[in-house]
């Protein structure tokens, strides 16, 4: 039998980053039992934490990079272990030693040099909005519309950003766009253990917002929402952040958002992890969907806090995952069970992941994915 000796210094190092709560884990296995990975392959978060508790080598195995930070385990952990923090702390240590999966080097490199993970030019950050005549944020503007890098550079998601602009304009929201100097919110970077890089991105953004006197930020990605709301606290970001689904649901209630055009569609809504489990926003998107005449909203079996992750969070979007191990495929199948023609998501990662899953499983004829704004924009009379 392999003989091991605990290595308290390593435990200490993990705790130092953000993993203090790993010490109180009682190894009950609830996390493993709930972890979506076990729908496709063996993965035990508990075991990872156990190794971390003992400071043992082995956690640097590939398993460490599995976690998609979906929060399912954290939400139900009986001891209140911040498992995601533990994971990112362990990843941070890997980062320090430079031992990260090859597929992550590109995105992290791009983040460091260009402020986005997609290798896009800074100068092209707001190119997607060309022709939409959106003003730049300035004094008197109420909201800064902060698009996710994915929406800025990924052609599929650019469509969603453009749809959002249309909807916001229809409601008369006073908003403006940001600047070339804007950087990625840094959510994925931090979850991948890029602690230093995250701080650089965050500080740059906070400085920029302060310079431009930005008070309220409207985000289109739940990941940005989460980063601004929670992670930026440590960089002293006193920002008011709102996800577009929440703002639009408010406008709907006030009668400012009018969804008059009937769409005869059966849709199902997928709760993004970072909107739902991380930030407790479940109902506003549903409220919006239900308000569209003609639209029938059906629920998947796993919905709200039980939603199945698309696999894109925590850097998952860049990981090379074998085709048979993609949650997005399971999720698309679950959506199909409901008989829906459209799967609505409110997160750019989910849109990308589902777009891919629908294509690769040959469902393009029967089903499509729409970002919430895209669905809403179709229901607005021109």
């Amino acid at each position: 039998m392999e003989i091991l000796a605990p290595f308290p210094e390593v435990t200490e190092a993990i705790a130092q980053v953000a993993g203090q709560t790993l010490r109180i884990c009682i190894q009950c296995g609830t996390c493993t039992g709930l972890c979506p990975w076990n729908l496709v392959k063996r993965f035990s978060p508990r075991e990872m934490i156990r190794l971390a508790q003992l400071g043992l080598e082995g956690f640097e195995s590939e398993a460490l990079w599995n976690c998609v930070t979906c929060n399912t385990c954290v939400q139900k952990c009986p001891r209140g272990v911040e498992i995601i923090d533990v994971v990112r702390s362990m990843r941070a240590i890997m980062n320090e030693t430079g031992t990260i999966p090859a597929s992550l080097k590109g995105p992290l490199g791009s983040l460091a040099s260009r402020g986005n993970p997609w290798g896009g030019d800074r100068s092209e950050r707001i190119k997607w909005s060309e022709g939409l005549e959106v003003p730049t944020y300035g004094p008197g503007t109420e909201y800064l519309l902060f698009t996710c890098c994915t929406q800025a550079y990924d052609p599929r998601n650019q469509k969603a950003a453009r749809a959002l602009v249309k909807v916001l304009k229809a409601c008369g929201v006073n908003f403006g766009l940001g600047w070339d100097r804007e950087s990625c919110c840094g959510d994925a970077c931090r979850k991948l253990g890029g602690e230093e890089l995250f701080l650089r991105l965050a500080q740059a953004n906070v400085a920029l917002f302060e310079e431009k006197e930005v008070r309220r930020i409207l985000v289109a990605s739940p990941h940005c929402l989460n980063a601004f709301r929670k992670d930026y606290k440590e960089v002293d970001g006193r920002l008011e952040v709102v996800h577009h689904s929440v703002l639009l649901a408010n406008l709907l209630r006030q009668g400012r958002l009018e969804l008059k055009k009937a769409l005869h569609l059966k849709v199902t809504y997928h709760d993004p992890c970072y909107l739902g489990r991380h930030n407790g926003i479940y109902e506003p998107p549903r409220e919006l969907i239900r308000a569209i005449p003609g639209v029938q909203l059906v629920e998947m079996k796993r919905n709200r806090d039980e939603s199945l992750c698309c696999g894109g969070g925590g850097g998952g979007i860049w990981m090379e995952v074998p085709s048979g191990e993609r949650f997005s495929k399971l999720r698309v199948a679950q959506a199909e069970e409901t008989g829906a023609e459209v799967i609505v998501a409110a997160c750019p990662y989910c849109v990308s992941m589902f777009e891919d899953a629908i294509k690769t499983t040959g469902r393009s004829e029967s089903m499509r994915v729409m970002e919430l704004s895209e669905l809403l924009s179709e229901a607005i009379e021109d």
Binding site: T30, C31, T32, G33, L34, R42
Partner: protein
């Protein structure tokens, strides 16, 4: 005289002296003002150490002593004793300083520790000179003990108190004692049957002469203090007297089923019930809430819930008997009542209101009226005359006849029944129905004189001369109101009342082919539908408002439309157009709705220039009726109002003329039949009182009120309201009845839709079967006052509801049970008679499971619910595993999903071994979820428990038939309120807090109040019993010593400074401050005060202070602590 202070510094071996340079401190202390003796010693707490003080006091004429040693929580009492033995007051002359726990043990540096010790002692020397002499006070103790909670802890404590020869009051909230333990089947690890060891305790409690048992009772208020508590207990009305023999006949006949709490709602019990067969006391109890809204809404006060429940049981005759307690015309009202009961029916919150009127009619129609038994009535001599045989008159006659009076009804028409007979068409109310009910009245001895008008020829006054001692006037409202338009007198314009009267009396009034009815009430619709039946080719109703405002019943309007009647809304007639003295048509005007009027309906306003003509051969005006009081002209003393109604007292219905009463439409103007019936009954009550010379107002039965009704569970399956069979429209050519009533099978099903708002329906079936005559539906709560010296609170725990933990599917899957539910499944007195059975989707028990998963730590050891361990789950989970194997056989698979196994007690580990040996599968890993989503055929139809086997590091999916959740033990839902009542503190886990976690396990913040059992924290039966015995021993110590001393460090209020603002009284948590009105000052009740100082810290003038913690003393201590500081140099 100057102070002479002695200071004693303890080395505590090396504990203090190892860090604090004791001799240096001693030398320093000796320099302080008034210090005449300064010593250090190895162990001050030792006998020689104490003797040092005792000797020095006289020798050095010491006035005060300071000891610097360990924490005063350790030895303050020791040294107080020494000082006292030395001849000084232990409070005035002593102060203690902690230089061990707070100094030598926690300070790294020797210099710093020494300096800190000097500061602390200097402060003490400074303080002690201001101490005042204090003496402890003693009070007598009432030896009686109150025990709250009749579970195993409460029973044990009561038995122990009783055994010692003192009186114990045992108060239990539920109808039986026993508590959770008696719900269990077996007890771990010995597997004694809970009942076998529990019921003898219950019986002993009941039989002990020293125990007074108050079940179904709650403590409302506690006042007083240790040794002298006064307790107010509410004994809730049980509605069954102690004469109850427990035979259970009542329960058999009770029509109301409720979820059985004792069985954790797995099964049902009746509204009159006993928790379980061995309950103590054996007396049954009735669950009764406020009378249902239907009962309250019925003008006649009919016991709607009661007769509905009886119909649900097929007891139609009993139902009719109940109806007729308040209502003599059930078949009639069952057809035409506006049914205000249905409008408030709470079944409507769920789906649709109950079809109450149809049910009443159904009951009335099922009975053979010819042979309906007539009650034995003792006849009286007095005669009562009733004028008018409408619903009011018949009702008064009925109730008076039941009292034995000789009643004669004078009816002007050739038929009896008033408007019921001549106002309502036969297709709605067949005359046979009315006749059979009037026939029953005749059988009761009521005489009806037809064609006998009272008026000019035969006056009211004549009646008295003829020997009638009281008269009831109920002639109704038969005159049609005038349209008030030109041409109204033209031939062919008929008042609706005359028209309907003619039709109902069998003649065929002449009407033209084109009939127009004016009005929107039931009379208008009746007239229109009758006209249709008389062969009119076209009938239309003109109404000046819209359909929404029509007062006619919706179903009547609907039927009229079905039959071809046309409705014209927002139209009003302005003139009758005549030709040759006969009606030719109507000139009308269109209306629109304006502002709401006094009745809340929008007032119709004519649209100028919108006039038009309507063709008509006959115009029937149905815009209302008024009473006809011409028959009373010339009667002295009888007042008639300006509206043409008879003036009566609103409560007694007595007119302004002595002996004359009136009611119905004659008094109110046109109203409903049921209101008339109610009025008739009230008049009958008045007349009955009048004839006996009683006060008419006092002692009348009051109307039921209140809204404390049973909960309408949203889980009740939705079912639509039953519909009566009706004659198809094309068959409605003559006057035969249209509504044919409910079919038999629908009626009882409809009745069973009742949600039993009042729980007990007061159907009185139980009373009729109780041989012991033990049932008293009129029983009321009783409040008793007890005087006791101490109180033991043993209120137990609640099991956590696991519904919010959605991942375990409780409440979603029928075969996920809580541990307590499983106990009941196992228990021979439980819903399955002790068989472990699965449930189907409807909750019905089916077959035994082939595999069972037991999930530990559900809500315990979970920061999202309860951080603590519930301590008993591991063991009862093992017990369950054993019982399943035992009852269902070895082939039944049992899985235990655990995090850690805590088998710490005597015989517990051995039990674990035994259960393992029996083949129970132990899985180390907390279950993450329970799902019915099958991945393959082996999982189909099963509940799948998903968990990581943390020992293997592999994920398990275990398909089972049944899941048991070991839910956490948690504090009682009302623990905070109970804590407030008894002055107990609550810990962060929500359970009651003991005074000290180790050394005072059953005492509380309030002296004389003790706690025992699971109300203090989760624990098993042995620990509970041990704690109960401990609490009893604490209480008995008080009882047997008979006196109690109270700490003297309590508050006092200086009456010369107090200005009487009383703010301190509001701040006192113990209500220990009273106000002396004569001196205008607040006064501390020394027996109640605990010395917390809430008052003193607020009192701006310093009138309130706590002895031994005065401003002067604290200031001196602060000054002493900070004396060595130097100002100006620190910066």
């Amino acid at each position: 005289m100057g102070e002479r202070i002695g200071v004693y510094i303890c080395h505590c071996g090396t504990n203090i002296a190892g860090k604090v340079r004791v001799s240096e401190v001693r030398d320093y202390v000796a320099t302080l003002k008034d210090v005449v003796v300064a010593r250090d010693y190895l162990f001050m707490c030792s006998d020689p150490g104490q003797e040092l003080i005792e000797k020095d006091i006289p020798e050095h004429r010491l006035t005060r002593v300071v000891v610097a040693s360990c924490s005063p929580r350790m030895h303050e009492i020791t040294f107080r004793g020494a000082v006292k033995r030395g001849g000084l007051n232990p409070f005035r002359s002593f102060h203690m300083v902690c230089i061990r726990e707070h100094c030598s043990w926690v300070t790294q540096d020797e210099d710093e520790a020494t300096a800190k010790a000097k500061d602390l002692i200097r402060a003490a020397v400074n303080r002690v000179r201001f101490h005042k002499p204090l003496e402890t006070v003693e009070y007598p103790v009432n030896p009686n003990v109150l025990i709250v909670g009749g579970g195993i802890a409460g029973m044990q404590a009561a038995l122990d108190v009783a055994k010692a020869g003192y009186k114990a009051y045992l108060v239990e909230r539920q109808p039986t004692i026993g508590g959770h333990m008696l719900q269990f089947d077996k007890t771990f690890p010995t597997l004694d049957c809970a009942s076998c060891i529990g019921t003898p305790k219950m019986v002993s409690v009941a039989q002990s002469p020293n125990i007074e048992l108050l079940t179904y009772s709650e403590v409302e208020e506690v006042s007083g203090f240790i040794g002298n508590y006064r307790v107010r207990v509410r004994k809730k009305a049980r509605y069954v007297k102690p004469e109850c023999t427990g035979c259970g006949e009542c329960s058999n006949v009770c029509p109301i089923a409720r979820p059985n709490e004792w069985d954790e709602r797995l099964g049902q019990r009746k509204a009159i019930y006993r928790s379980f067969p061995q309950a103590v006391p054996v007396t049954f109890v009735i669950e009764k809430k406020d009378r249902g809204p239907c009962v309250q809404a019925c003008p006649a006060g009919t016991n709607v819930q009661g007769y509905v429940a009886l119909i649900g049981q097929g007891k139609n005759q009993e139902a009719l008997r109940l109806i007729m307690e308040k209502l003599p015309l059930p078949g009639t009202l069952g057809r035409i009542c506006p049914a205000p009961c249905e409008k408030v029916c709470r079944r409507g919150d769920l789906d649709e209101p109950l079809a109450i009127r149809e049910l009443k009619r159904y009951a009335a129609d099922q009975v053979d009226w010819e042979n309906l038994p007539v009650p034995a009535i003792e006849p009286k001599k007095q005669r009562v005359a009733i004028v008018g045989s409408g619903p009011a008159g018949l009702s008064a006659a009925y109730f008076l006849a039941l009292e034995g009076y000789r009643v004669t009804i004078f009816e002007a028409l050739p038929v009896a029944g008033g408007m019921l007979r001549v106002g309502i068409p036969d297709y709605r109310l067949p005359p046979e129905v009315l006749e059979r009910e009037i026939g029953y009245l005749r059988r009761l001895g009521v005489e009806i004189k037809l064609d006998s008008p009272i008026g000019a020829g035969h006056t009211l006054d004549d009646l008295f001369e003829e020997g009638y001692q009281a008269v009831y006037l109920a002639t109704g409202a038969h005159r049609s109101a005038k349209l008030g338009i030109p041409g109204e007198e033209t031939t062919g314009v008929i008042p609706a009342t005359s028209f309907l009267k003619e039709v109902n009396l069998g003649s065929r009034p002449q009407i033209g082919p084109e009939v127009v009815v004016i009005g929107g009430g039931n009379v208008a619709v009746d007239a229109a539908r009758s006209a249709m039946r008389l062969g009119a080719s076209s009938v239309s109703i003109l109404y000046r408002r819209t359909r929404a405002e029509m007062p006619a019943y919706p179903e009547e309007i609907e039927a009229a439309i079905e039959e071809g009647v046309r409705l014209e809304f927002l139209v009003a007639p302005v003139e009758v157009i005549a030709q040759d003295g006969k009606v030719k048509g109507l000139r009308c005007v269109r209306m629109e709705l304006g502002e709401p009027d006094a009745t809340g309906r929008r007032r119709p306003v004519p649209i100028p220039g919108s006039e038009f003509q309507v063709k008509a051969d006959t115009v029937i005006s149905a815009i209302g009726q008024v009473p006809d009081t011409r028959f009373l002209e010339g009667i002295k003393g009888l007042q008639v109002s300006g509206r043409g109604t008879v003036v009566v007292d609103p409560v007694t219905y007595e007119t302004t003329k002595k002996g004359v009463f009136a009611g119905g439409d004659l008094v109110t103007g046109p109203a409903t039949a049921v209101e008339a019936v109610a009025a008739g009954r009230e008049a009958a009550i008045s007349i009955h009182r009048y004839l006996r010379g009683l006060d008419l107002r006092e002692g009348r039965p009051s109307k039921p009120s209140g809204q404390n009704w049973s909960e309408v569970s949203p889980e009740i399956p939705r079912r639509p309201r039953a519909k009566a069979i009706t004659l198809p429209p094309d068959k409605r050519k003559d006057f035969s009845e249209v509504n044919l009533g409910l079919p038999r099978e629908d009626a009882s099903a409809e009745a069973q839709r009742c949600v039993s708002c009042g729980v007990c329906s007061e159907c009185m079936e139980c009373v009729s079967v109780c041989k012991a005559k033990a049932i008293d539906h009129k029983m009321e709560d009783e409040v008793v006052e007890l005087e006791v010296g101490s109180i033991i609170v043993a209120t137990g725990y609640d099991l956590m509801d696991p519904t919010p933990m959605t991942q375990f599917g409780y409440g979603k899957y029928p075969n996920v049970f809580t541990s307590l539910e499983f106990e009941r499944l196992n228990n021979a007195t439980g819903p399955t008679g002790g068989k472990i059975l699965m449930r189907d989707q409807n909750g019905a028990f089916t077959r035994p499971p082939e595999s069972v998963a037991i999930l530990h730590c559900i809500g315990s050891r979970d920061v999202n619910y309860h951080e603590y361990c519930s301590r008993v789950c591991c063991m009862y989970a093992l017990k369950f595993a054993h019982l399943i194997k035992d009852k269902l056989g070895h082939e039944t698979q049992v899985y235990n999903f655990y995090i850690d196994l805590r088998c710490f007690g005597k015989g517990y580990e051995e039990f674990l071994k035994r259960v393992q040996d029996e083949g129970v599968m132990m899985i180390r890993g907390k279950a993450a979820r329970v799902t019915d989503e099958a991945l393959d055929d082996s999982e189909k139809g099963k509940l799948i428990v998903v968990a990581e086997d943390t020992l293997l590091g592999k994920l398990l999916r275990v398909p089972v038939d049944m899941v048991i959740l070991c839910a956490a033990m948690e504090k009682r839902k009302d623990a905070e309120q109970v804590a407030r009542t008894f002055g107990i503190s609550i810990g962060r886990d929500g359970f009651f807090l003991e005074e000290h976690p180790k050394l005072e396990p059953v005492s509380t913040a309030t002296s004389g109040v003790f706690i025992a059992g699971a109300c203090q924290g989760p624990k098993d039966i042995p620990d509970t019993v041990a704690q109960a015995k401990a609490a009893a021993s604490e209480a008995l110590a008080l009882s047997s010593y008979g006196r109690v001393s109270v700490s003297p460090t309590i508050a006092e209020i200086d009456p010369y400074i107090c200005v009487g603002c009383q703010v301190c009284r509001g701040l006192c948590a113990y209500s220990a401050i009273e106000f002396d009105e004569t001196r205008n000052v607040s006064v501390v009740n020394e027996a109640v005060c605990k010395g917390c100082g809430s008052c003193a810290a607020h009192c701006p003038s310093g009138a309130a202070k706590v002895k031994h913690f005065t401003d002067k003393q604290l200031f001196a201590e602060i000054d002493g602590l900070l004396e060595r500081l130097r100002f100006g140099e620190a910066a």
